[in-house]
Amino acid sequence: MSAKIKVERLNLWYGAFHALIDVGLSVREKAITSLIGPSGCGKSTLLRCLNRMNDLIDDVRIEGSVRIDGQDIYAGTSAPTALRKKVGMVFQRPNPFPLSVYENIAFGPKVHHLAKADEMDDIVEDSLKAVHLWDELKDRLDENALALSLEQKQRLCIARLAAVRSEVLLMDEPCSALDPLATLRIEELMRYLRSDYTILIVTHNMQQAARVSDDTGFMLLGELIEFGRTTDIFTRPQDKRTEDYITGRFG
């Protein structure tokens, strides 16, 4: 499998604060990569570099290169809107829009002019099916999405990305607002989506990283300490700090 995302010597500063230090990793296509590490180590920051969401924060400076499908996303020519269509993001707190279920899904295709009006119904249906929500919601398409359960909301947010045919899913602690059963069902969904998407997940839950991911990166104070196959990281970590973290000795 080839590298979908290649990050090299990535440095990021929030003002004077050096939040990412010489980070480099390659993310395999159609695999699940997890990022673990103690709070404040820069996991979300790294994730937000990959869809340029950090651009929205004032006073951020970024150096180094991030290539997706071989293209440098920070090179002058590429528009963040096109990038964000390809590299979708799922947030910690499910954030459906205050619109109907249908309009939530239709939003992406509309802003990217992906569909004619008569194709939208099919897109909505396919996207909901992709996240196993269709049977539950097919009679509630006109209901406000804010009335859904937390798990349904999070699935809907993933379906929104399916609707614009995202290729990469960035998930920042997507289950931390959910109960344990809903968490397991979302993990199951991730494994199912793995055949179509490249998935990056940030998680505080080490069992979750071990359960769902193919590769794992461990971060500490802005540095990527160790990166490799999940089984290797969890069974024979190379770095003492990784070992301390996964055995629960700190963090």
Binding site: N51, M53, N95, F97, V111
Partner: protein, 292 residues
């Protein structure tokens, strides 16, 4: 010592209670007074002839007390003000809340506060000396004292209310909606017009209603620029007379206890009911927004 504190607390509590009750009692008394004086108009005319009558000649003999031209005059001037102020106010609120750079934002916010602080008689003064001649010349009218001039004045008065409340509503929209839309590749503009506006909608509607409520009872500026002809209006470009201007202009000369006097109270009652309904509706929307 402890006894003293208890007495003090008792007194303070009763004082607060009394002032709360007092404000309710005053409103009730005002309403009762208005009602009892206003209803007396029915001694000299029927309800239908009062509300639907086309002629307002309060001092002819017998007096003609039809307030339809006044109601329509108020509605026309207010409608014109809404058409001008609501889109402008909402646009400005979006600009201030979500687009303007920090410096321009604070400049605009103080500008809006200053606008809110201008006494309406001063605005009316500017209206007479600047706006009315301007309208007369640019539109080639026989007189610039028109419903349109009133609408423009009222729009200025409604703007601060609309902008301030709509801006609060926009700022109260959770950040997550904005992030979600941008992360899907929407532009800033698409995020505003397709997501944030829906999150802020109850507040925006309330802002518009309160802005309208603010101007429908407005008197001075309107009386100064609308020409005050009590005829049924057919266009924005002719003089009209509003409910408020009628009361202000005629109360001084109406003999106490005359049909004219009671009719003016009844006009006040109509006005009271209209703004009460508008404020009630605005409250409903504001509360609906809060509950979510």
């Amino acid at each position: 010592m402890a006894g003293f504190r208890k007495v003090k607390e008792f007194v303070i509590e009763k004082l607060i209670f009394a002032s709360g009750i007092a404000s309710i009692i005053f409103v009730a008394l005002i309403f009762i007074f208005l009602l009892s004086e206003g209803v007396s108009v029915l001694k000299s005319t029927s309800l239908g002839a009062f509300l639907g009558g086309r002629f307002w000649y309060p001092i002819s003999d017998p007096p003609k007390l039809g307030i339809l031209p006044l109601i329509l005059g108020s509605l026309l001037v207010t409608a014109g003000a809404i058409v001008l102020a609501v889109p402008l106010g909402i646009g400005a609120a979006f600009y201030i809340a979500d687009v303007a750079p920090a410096k321009i934002r604070s400049l605009l916010k103080s500008g809006v506060e200053v606008l809110a602080a201008i006494p309406s008689v001063v605005l009316g003064f500017l209206g007479i000396t600047l706006l009315v001649p301007f309208l007369k010349h640019t539109l080639g009218l026989p007189t610039g004292l028109t419903a349109l001039a009133g609408s423009i004045m009222l729009a200025f008065m409604a703007l601060p209310t609309i902008i301030t409340i709509a801006e609060d509503a926009i700022n109260a929209v959770p950040r997550e909606y904005k992030e979600g839309a941008l992360a899907l590749g929407a532009t800033h503009w698409q995020t505003l017009t397709r997501v944030i506006i829906y999150g802020a909608m109850p507040g925006i509607i309330a802002a518009s209603m309160l802005g309208i409520g603010r101007v429908i009872g407005e008197t001075m500026a309107v009386m100064m620029v609308t020409g005050n002809a009590a005829v049924i209006p057919t266009s924005l470009l002719q003089p009209v007379r509003t409910l408020t201007a009628t009361i202000a202009a005629e109360m001084g000369e109406a003999a106490k206890g005359s049909p004219h006097y009671f009719a003016l109270f009844a006009v006040g009652l109509v006005l009271f009911l209209i703004s009460f309904l508008i404020n009630l509706t605005a409250d409903l929307f504001l509360n609906r927004g809060k509950k979510r």
